[in-house]
């Protein structure tokens, strides 16, 4: 590969190209203004990814700002890879939930598996050892021809990845509804623990410090995946298939151990995983947060495929990779650790004082772009929205034909897919590895996992009832948070904080945007009332196929703590003659 061969693969930068990359005409003009010239092909690709819905949160940012995110227990709220909450004695719990909806619909096993891989990296990148995974799943109607295949692929993908990396999958939720026929939801949550004085952040610092690439090699996986995740589905989007990545949980396991081993030394300045939009978002975010520039020379970057162009490398979404800023002179220490774990390691650049992202390869410069202006100019929309009209009261006639017999009604309820036992799902997940699981799926209202090496424990739950959110997004948002709070309290935990995963349809439709706004408002209300702040989250919009949106689904992941894992209470009745009490309204 050479500079000429690279150029031969590039296309002229035009409005048409920008549109293909998912930008609007106004955004394209803005890019020209900021650059003061025609961007290069590589720059255009990078800008379009930075401004995609997935990376820029352009439709949701305005509203997410209204969520309560602080409290005495919060060490780090939204904005980092995951939220950090104090659990006393110098210990913290670090957690986040993230969606992998579109990839899981296209290739259920790999989509779900790489979703688990991505959220694990978000958590261990901050210095935490992951101690639990959960997953919130929504599928179409059970009798839809695709549902069986999707359920079976997603569940085995989640198990396949989580079981192999050795993090117990301890809970979750699963709903079925025809509104998800063409857009399933796969939301994965990871919880980890770290010492408060050993937390790692992503802001780069130290001009001249080496930028290091570790993990798997880079291939042409998922190029423009981040923009795919921000686009509505049509029948032919199955054509976009090669953007699906294959996960390698074995490499991820090695990466966890290697990163945690490196974190024991004092070699790291900053660290971030390469998630959506890979090297682009990690390098831009790290340098941007540090107010610095970054210069990368891609020739020595570990590559899996031949003849890759700078554009492809910067946009690749190959899995199981991390970007690290090291202290000067610590390259050897770090390399020895990654050699031990048999992972690729390469110094690919250094920090600069220019404030620019500079990309060199084959002896030429392919990108020289000011980071702050492009990041700051990421569009932020105040999209028009309509409040959701009050739902009509349910007429009595709905109950016509229902049997008055309690027995019949119970049988009917048990048989309903949302209420039926989910044992066949969670038996496929290793919920016990680590030996710290007190309660897993099916045992209690929330999972309870002991903090390794200690008596204290964390309680974890995921909750959302989408049909409530459809009827009344504000109440639905409040209810999801309140249910998470109740589930944590019910096992005896003190609820601490939540992560959220906002799954909605096309935000350009005022009705859908109204659902989003309502749900955010409801979540904010409940979080304020309960002192239960939001410390991390994720937004997944455009969950629509042929104009049909999913039910508004703001999934809530709640975390609490118990001083002793053994005081936790499960749901089983213990002895004959025990008194049963009902409390509440």
């Amino acid at each position: 590969m050479s500079a000429e061969a690279t150029r031969a693969q590039e296309r002229p930068v035009t409005l048409e190209l920008a549109r293909e990359f998912g930008l609007s005409e106004a955004e394209y003009k803005n890019a020209l203004d900021i650059m003061g010239r025609l961007p290069t092909f590589t720059e255009m690709g990078i800008i379009s990814v930075m401004w995609s819905e997935h990376c820029s949160y352009k439709s949701s940012k305005l509203w997410l700002k209204t969520l309560p995110t602080t409290g005495p227990q919060v060490i780090c709220g939204p904005g980092e890879n995951a939220g950090v909450v104090d659990i006393g004695d110098g210990d913290t719990v670090i957690f986040k939930m993230e969606s992998h909806n579109h990839p899981s619909y296209i290739e259920p096993y790999q989509g779900a598996a790489t979703g688990v891989g991505g959220i694990l990296r978000d958590v261990f990148t901050m210095g935490a050892r992951p101690i639990a995974n959960l997953n919130a799943l929504r599928f179409g109607s059970p009798d839809h021809p695709k549902t069986r295949h999707l359920v079976s692929g997603v569940v085995s993908g989640i198990g396949g990845y989580g079981n192999c990396v050795g993090v117990p999958t301890v809970g979750g939720e699963t709903n079925f509804h025809a509104a998800y026929n063409g857009n399933i939801l796969v939301n994965a949550m990871t919880v980890g623990v770290a010492k408060a004085d050993k937390i790692f952040y992503s802001a780069a610092a130290g001009i001249g410090n080496p930028v290091v690439y570790v993990g798997s090699k880079t291939g042409r996986d998922g190029i423009h995946g981040a923009t795919m995740a921000s686009a509505e589905f049509t029948e032919d989007s199955e054509e976009k298939r090669p953007t699906v990545q294959v996960g390698d949980p074995f490499t991820e396991k090695l990466l966890i151990e290697a990163c945690l081993e490196l974190m024991e030394t004092d070699a790291i300045v900053a660290i971030q995983d390469m998630g959506a939009a890979g090297l682009t978002s990690s390098s831009v975010e790290m340098a941007g947060k540090g107010g610095l520039g970054i210069e990368l020379t891609l020739d020595t970057l570990p590559m899996r495929e031949e003849a890759m162009t700078p554009y492809e490398i910067m946009l690749s979404e190959s899995q199981e990779r991390m970007l690290i800023i090291l202290k000067p002179g610590r390259e050897e220490v770090a390399k020895a650790i990654f050699d031990k774990w048999e992972l690729d390691f390469a110094v690919i650049g250094h920090l600069t004082d220019t404030g620019n992202l500079v990309i060199k390869m084959y002896g030429e410069t392919w990108c020289d772009m000011p980071i702050a202006p492009v990041s700051n100019a990421a569009p932020e929309y105040d999209r028009p929205w309509e409040p959701t009209p009050a739902a009509a009261p349910v007429p009595d006639s709905v109950f016509d034909g229902y049997s008055a017999s309690l027995g019949d009604t119970l049988t009917k309820l048990f048989a309903c897919p949302d209420l039926a036992s989910k044992r066949w799902i969670w038996e496929q997940y290793d919920s016990l590895v680590g030996g710290d699981t007190r309660f897993m799926s099916g045992q209690a209202d929330a999972a309870v996992v002991r903090v390794p090496g200690q008596t204290k424990a964390v309680a974890i739950t995921t909750d959302c009832t989408p049909r409530y959110c459809l009827a009344d997004p504000v109440q639905g948002g409040r209810q999801a948070v309140a249910e998470a709070w109740r589930n944590l309290s019910a096992v005896g935990a003190l609820p601490l904080a939540i992560t959220d995963n906002m799954n909605f349809g096309n935000p350009e439709k005022p009705r859908i945007m109204g659902q989003f706004v309502g749900a955010v408002q409801g979540i904010a209300d409940a979080c304020k009332a309960l002192d239960f702040p939001v410390v991390s989250g994720n937004v997944s919009l455009y969950n629509e196929t042929n104009g049909e949106a999913i039910l508004p689904t703001p999934a809530i992941g709640g975390v609490g703590t118990l001083p002793d894992a053994m005081i936790a209470v499960d749901i089983a009745f213990k002895a004959e003659g025990d008194v049963i009490l009902g409390i509440g309204d």
Binding site: G160, N163, Q428, S431, G434
Partner: protein, 229 residues
Amino acid sequence: MKAAIVVFPGSNRERDAVAALEAASGTKPHLVWHRDTELPKVDLIVVPGGFSYGDYLRSGAMAAHSPIMREVKARADQGVRVLGICNGFQIITEAGLLPGALMRNGGLKFVCRVQHLRVENTDSPFTAKYAKGQIVRYPVAHGDGNFWTDAETVKRLDGEGRVAFRYVADDARADPRGNPNHSVSDIAGIFNAKRTVLGLMPHPEDAVEGLHGNTDGKPMFDGLVEALS
């Protein structure tokens, strides 16, 4: 009792084994990295559960051929006790320490649940603290636990008292529904001829304290400590 736990890339239940051994013996076991060629002088070697080398190709196959396993075999030949749990069972079987092979679960799915087992032979330091025929509960968590060997070998294993554990149903009867992986003759764990090596799919190390809701695995570690101290 001095114990070593062999850690491969992808092992993930070594911490569980450390905790169980330390609780029983009061001493921390040595963790031996797979690239080490020397094993410390120990009374017990544990090959723990996990997904060594991602379980790619065949579970346990790649780990079985690593240099450290030559050393494990040599020690086993000298009579050092070897305990292979789950992936460890797969590894020591692939390495030829035990007969047969572990195939994909008959149901083709990973299975994690608390499993009832019958202790078939108590004439070993691993099982001495159980009663013959005792029903115990250990968790299982595996995708490739379907032990297979030909009918003749099964007969021989039975005749020589080398079947350590069998899967049974929750009501303690032999019942196909009690077998989580369709293993031949409901076999969950077997010994070598001298009963110094035990391989089993279920996880006694995840049933040793109150937190686990079940301490049926504890007698195995207590028995080893008693016999090997």
